[in-house]
């Protein structure tokens, strides 16, 4: 897997109760790209994210990540390369202390204790939370929890970072810090968010989803400046561009 191309081909997905969440999505994301996925509630964004990691498998169509199709068999392999940061850090951080949490992934990858320790410290240093190492997760602020969540994924050394609403629950300052952090990463990034300003700052490409379909796919600048396109898909201009 040297070229981490993510390729979705005509994905359809319906939940067991019959709700159609995705009705034919196709896109291709190349190595090192950072792509924002936006759309109104119920557009299929979260469903799409869960499919990238094999938690849900498409009813028809196929996902291909770095040449490997996402199937029941390959999903463990896929998860090594695709790091998924969930929306709620309390779901993401399930171990009693910050250290244990960040060490969870590397230990599962079979690293030696010394290597795990180095990896944990390195990941925590990147997100600026090294001093929280021995703290229990429930003593952290939400901003810290979010940063540590990202560290838990970084410690796995994924090639592709997938994030669900990285700025939710955060105050302005913590949000800005997360944005700065994301801009530093050179991974392939897929970010799902309602925070269009964050998408503007972090992603150069943007995909608009609505009704389980790709409504538009192009550079972020073109898309987020296009008021008619946004309003057609129940979105608004990013706050920083309003009243200008």
């Amino acid at each position: 897997m040297s070229h981490h191309i993510i390729k979705a081909e005509n994905i359809h997905f319906s939940y067991p109760d019959g709700t159609k969440a995705i009705n034919g999505i196709s896109f291709e994301i190349h190595h090192g790209e950072s792509v924002g996925i936006i759309g109104p509630n119920g557009a299929g964004k979260s469903t799409l994210i869960l499919q990238l990691n094999g938690f849900l498998l498409p009813t028809s169509g196929s996902f291909n990540i770095g040449g490997t199709p996402v199937t029941q068999k390959t999903k463990t392999e896929i998860r090594r390369h695709v790091g998924l940061v969930f929306q709620n850090p309390d779901d993401q951080l399930f171990m009693p202390t910050v250290f244990d949490d960040v060490a969870f992934g590397p230990l599962n990858l079979g690293l030696s204790p010394e290597a795990v320790e180095i990896k944990v410290e390195e990941s925590l240093r990147i997100v600026g939370c090294l001093e929280l190492k021995s703290r229990p997760s429930h003593h952290l602020s939400l901003g810290q929890k979010r940063a540590v969540s990202i560290a838990t994924i970084l410690a796995m050394e994924p090639d592709i970072l997938v994030m669900d609403e990285p700025s939710s629950f955060l105050d302005n300052h913590s949000r800005r810090e997360i944005i700065n952090l994301l801009r530093k990463f050179h991974h392939t990034k897929i970010i799902v968010s309602h925070d269009l300003d964050l998408i503007m700052d972090v992603c150069e490409r943007c995909i608009i989803l609505n009704d389980g379909r790709v409504q538009a796919d192009g550079t972020t600048k073109d898309m987020l400046l296009n008021k008619t396109l946004l309003e057609k898909n129940k979105l608004e201009l990013p706050l920083s561009l309003q009243n200008k």
């Binding site: 869960l50 990691n53 938690f55 463990t76 998860r79 090594r80 790091g83 998924l84 969930f86 709620n88 309390d90 779901d91 993401q92 951080l93 399930f94 171990m95 009693p96 202390t97 250290f99 244990d100 060490a103 969870f104 992934g105 230990l107 599962n108 990858l109 204790p113 795990v116 320790e117 229990p136 997760s137 429930h138 838990t152 994924i153 796995m156």
Partner: protein, 266 residues
């Protein structure tokens, strides 16, 4: 409103105490765990009419509370909370065992009262030492100690998940209850029904959450077994702590110190 400060069950406070930094806190969790076990085992191994032999054991919780800088009030408060259990266990002893064993100032005291008192002293000793263990050792530390001492991994994980999520569940309960109170205007009547609904929705939310946690675990390579990171820093002082204190407790168990001190003064 934060659950940690709530009065619901001071769990947060004991947890907060366990992150202090004193000599006792710095000892290896395994040392403290073993010493507490030895202590409890020695205390409960006394025969049922023993009182004088138990008294010197009080020195252990007293010294630990002082050294570890734990407010004695919190330990006493918790003792009272669990006390009904111990009080009920021995409540029929005075009626069943009426044989006079000793008489004080002309009043005969039956064996039942003495064994009842013995149960209560044992209760105070064991529960306070367990509480002090929790207040001086972080919960993950205790889990790690138990895992090192051979407790099966699956039990450790259950404990660790309970510890991680009880605070979150508690906060959720507090929030839900606030929302209920906000719209119930002091009314009573449907309370039982509402409580049922609240419990039901909490259960559903917990199941949803567990699903998401499981996904988060899988996303990081979970394959059925959780590997714990072993931080081993068992030092000479930990070793000495075990040897000295365990030795002291065994000595107290075998040698009637109270009687000896009593004889010195008579």
């Amino acid at each position: 409103m934060s659950f940690n400060q709530s009065e619901f069950f001071d769990l947060g406070y004991l947890d907060y105490l366990s992150y202090k930094d004193t000599f006792i806190h710095r000892l290896d969790p395994r040392a403290k765990f073993i010493v507490t076990l030895v202590f409890i085992f020695m205390v409960i191994s006394f025969p049922k009419h023993e009182i004088s032999g138990l008294i010197p054991f009080l020195i252990f919780p007293v010294i630990l509370v002082a050294l570890a800088d734990i407010p004695i009030k919190i330990i006493l408060k918790k003792l009272i909370v669990v006390s009904p259990f111990a009080l009920m266990v021995g409540i029929f002893n005075p009626m069943l065992d009426r044989k006079i064993l000793i008489s004080l100032f002309g009043i005969g005291i039956s064996g039942g009262w003495i064994s009842y008192l013995s149960i209560i002293i044992k209760f105070i000793l064991t529960i306070s030492s367990a509480l002090i263990l929790i207040a001086t050792t972080s919960f993950p530390g205790i889990c790690m100690a138990m895992e090192n001492l051979g407790m099966p991994n699956i039990f450790i994980l259950q404990l660790m998940f309970i510890y991680r999520y009880i605070f979150i569940l508690g906060e959720e309960v507090v929030r839900t209850n606030n929302a209920r109170e906000l719209r119930s205007f002091g009314k009573k009547g449907y309370e039982i029904l509402t409580a049922g609904n609240i419990l039901g929705s909490l259960l559903l939310r917990t199941i949803d959450r567990s699903e998401r946690i499981y996904q988060a675990m899988c996303a990081r390579g979970f394959n059925g077994k959780i590997n714990l990171f072993k931080k081993s820093r068992f030092l000479l002082k930990d070793f000495l702590y075990i040897i000295l204190l365990s030795g002291f407790f065994i000595f107290l168990r075998l040698f009637p110190l109270s009687q000896f001190i009593g004889k010195m003064f008579i």
